[in-house]
């Protein structure tokens, strides 16, 4: 049996498992699937949390498990790996497009590490609705740990920004 075919199938199944907080992104888009290991009738999926305390993690682990069991895999193990630590650079290009279409500004590329300096602003974050760069930070923390809250000065809409990490 060619394990690469099974891995491809598992990957395809994982494309259907979405982040419960950001339902437009699959766990593949999010870049949190670190490893898929298959043997005759078992599959091991290693995933990495976005944030240490992300409350969605347990739900994601359960969804991954249930999806693979439903597809007929008998022996499914889902485990977490902390290192290397997740970065927003692992979000796929397709994922970034989906975020923008959903109204969330995707993370800027190449800023995987935050500055510790106070009042250090990131490069201008473009509004996901009207593309204006005239935006302002409202709060460093948004509705989930991975997002910050911005407002567009051009169209006045508030929006979430998937913050650098």
């Amino acid at each position: 049996m060619d394990y690469r075919i099974i891995e491809k199938e598992v990957r395809g199944l994982l494309e259907t498992v979405c982040d419960p907080e950001i339902p437009v992104l699959s766990v593949i888009d999010l870049g949190i699937i670190r490893k898929i290991e298959t043997e005759t009738d078992s599959v091991v999926v290693a995933l990495t949390p976005t944030y240490s305390g992300c409350p969605a993690l347990e739900a994601i682990i359960l969804d991954v498990y249930n999806t693979l069991r439903k597809a007929g895999y008998g022996n499914v193990q889902v485990r977490t790996e902390l290192s290397p630590a997740w970065t927003t650079d692992w979000i796929s290009e397709k994922g970034k497009d989906k975020l923008k279409a959903f109204g969330i500004a995707p993370p800027l590329p190449g800023q995987p590490v935050c500055h510790t300096r106070a009042f250090h602003e990131e490069e201008a974050i473009p509004c996901p609705r009207c593309n204006s760069y005239d935006t302002r930070l409202i709060s460093r923390f948004g509705s989930t740990p991975c997002k910050a809250l911005y407002q567009c000065r051009t169209c006045q809409e508030p929006f979430d920004y998937f913050k650098c990490h």
Binding site: S52, L82, A85, C114, T116, S139
Partner: protein
């Protein structure tokens, strides 16, 4: 390396994060504005998540060796294997190894953000050292957590500056908060016996190397906030530590000698599991 010292050290790291996370979570639903309520709740999530990772690791080490539970957790009266929940909910104040700073009551918003700032500036330096160490599990947790801590540090620095350099009232409150909390910062840099022993074997972080960079961070932000560390009443510690701002300090938390505040915190945090052990919902 002695396994029991190793476990004590992991519990110390985890307790710092859990207790500060719990303290911050007391603001959930009570923040001055919604965005900042969410901010502090998110910081709590990060800290409690870090604590969980460390407790899970500590629990695995406890369960791996026969007799280890009795040795490192003599007060825990729960039968069976130890879990992260056992470590969080069934240890008493004397078993907790967090530093005194993180258990101090929230006070007003200014005191809460100052406590976060003083601790995050330290935790950032600590994790920066731990992520390069040989213990792969601790290194992985530190590597993961330091990105979160960087964000906590930046957020809390901004609040310290905003309030210190704000109105006369906010400045006055920050000055009082600094006087209250300053006494507890010295402990961050004093190694407990288990830390000294581990460090002698090349394990853990050299806390004395964190002190000066910590002071640089703190003094720079405080200066921008128009605040100064309280006058040092004894000042005889500075000569041999090289510290510019050595102060009288209170310590003991890392060895289980806590201020009275921790008992009240644990009573609230642990009540449900003590009343209904193993309860899930």
């Amino acid at each position: 390396m002695r396994r029991d010292q190793h476990i004590h050290y992991l519990l110390h790291l985890a307790d710092d994060s859990l207790i500060l996370g719990h303290r911050n979570s007391e603001w959930t639903g009570h923040g001055p504005i919604l965005e900042q309520d969410i901010a502090l709740s998110n910081i709590s999530l990060d800290l409690i998540g870090q604590a969980r990772n460390l407790y899970q690791y500590a629990a695995r080490l406890v369960n791996r060796e026969r007799g280890m539970k009795e040795k490192v957790l003599p007060g825990v009266k729960v039968s069976g294997e130890v879990s992260e929940d056992t470590l969080a909910y069934f240890r008493d104040s004397r078993d907790y190894k967090n530093c005194l700073l993180v258990e101090q009551p929230n006070g007003d918003w200014g005191k809460t953000v100052l406590r976060q700032f003083l601790f995050s500036a330290f935790q950032f330096l600590l994790y920066d050292r731990l992520k390069q160490r040989d213990d792969q599990q601790v290194a992985a947790i530190a590597e993961k957590s330091i990105k979160e801590v960087a964000y906590h540090l930046r957020w809390s620095s901004e609040w310290v500056i905003r309030l210190g350099d704000g109105t006369a009232e906010s400045h006055r409150r920050m000055r009082h908060a600094l006087e209250d909390l300053w006494l507890f910062t010295g402990e961050l840099f004093v190694a407990a016996p288990y830390e000294q022993e581990l460090l002698a074997e090349g394990y853990g972080a050299d806390l004395s190397s964190c002190r000066l960079p910590w002071e640089d961070t703190i003094l720079e932000t405080l200066a921008r906030a128009g605040l100064f560390p309280p006058e040092d009443g004894t000042s005889n510690g500075s000569a041999h530590t090289g510290s510019a701002i050595m102060t009288r300090s209170r310590a003991g938390g890392k060895e289980g000698q806590h201020t009275e505040h921790l008992g009240y915190l644990l009573a609230e945090m642990q009540f449900l599991q003590r009343a209904y052990p193993g309860c899930e919902w």
